[in-house]
Amino acid sequence: MDIKDLKVLICDDSLLARKNLHDGLNKIGCTNVTEVKDGQAAIDAYKKNPVDVVFLDIVMPVKDGITAAGEICSLDKDAYVIMVSSVGTQLHLREAIKAGARDFLQKPTTPEQIKEALSHVVGGDS
């Protein structure tokens, strides 16, 4: 599978963060991208239409990203969740891994960082 073939779900309450990540994905050829604004919406979207990669913010209303990561990974043990957050503390990193996240990107992200993260997805890394 190529990065261009990936189906991606972006979950972030920030309009700007969703736009930047979406633009970054488009820049590297990844165009099958859906957006939602909170953790519960991400879980509902994943149930309805599983994707290859979920990018999850942590700090969100309704349901935070780490809780959402845990629920998505419980639904699907093969779910590939990448946390994207400004709050890349040691505690959050540990909690994210415990919830089943495979990677963590510290905001602000660049297209190069996104491409590297997705290369692990298509490369079969865990």
């Binding site: 700090v59 400004s86 709050v87």
Partner: protein, 145 residues
């Protein structure tokens, strides 16, 4: 170094990096009251607790958001407030990461707020006022500990 000093140092650095590389910090001071019309804010919670906020006139906020988001925003709207709160979230995140890495102080953030009907309150806490002069006008950041 006090956490408020670290906050201001990080803030100046992040404003220069993400908004305006010519921004100038003015002396910080303690205020007895929250300024009227201050509603763009975010709670920092955990080992270190504080409330952060940003306020200023609508035109300065609009230009701040234009610079930060690199988006065209010809007039003030709720999007301006949301983008300003996004900067607050980014800066506060980088600040708590620094607290975690350098001082093993673990904090987190609540989602930022920008409802004009919900002004920030101080509840007998210390109100630090952190004014900045940008190339397009002045804004004040507030840190309540």
């Amino acid at each position: 170094m006090a956490n408020s000093d670290i906050y201001v140092a990080e803030l100046t650095s992040n404003l220069r990096k993400f908004v305006d590389d010519s921004v100038t910090e003015r002396p910080t001071y303690i205020s007895p009251d929250i300024p009227s019309g201050c509603y763009i804010s975010q709670n920092i919670t955990g080992d270190y607790n504080a409330v952060s906020a940003i306020y200023g006139d609508k035109e300065a906020l609009r230009q701040f958001s234009v610079n930060y988001a690199k988006m065209e925003l010809e007039e003030y709207s709720e999007v301006v407030d949301e983008l300003a709160s996004d900067f607050l979230n980014l800066h506060n995140g980088l600040f708590v990461v620094r607290l975690s890495r350098e001082f093993s102080t673990e904090s987190s953030l609540d989602p930022p707020m920008f409802d004009p009907d919900k002004a920030v309150s101080a509840e007998n806490r210390t109100i630090h006022m952190i004014p900045y002069d940008f190339s397009f006008g002045s804004l004040v950041f507030v840190l309540i500990e």
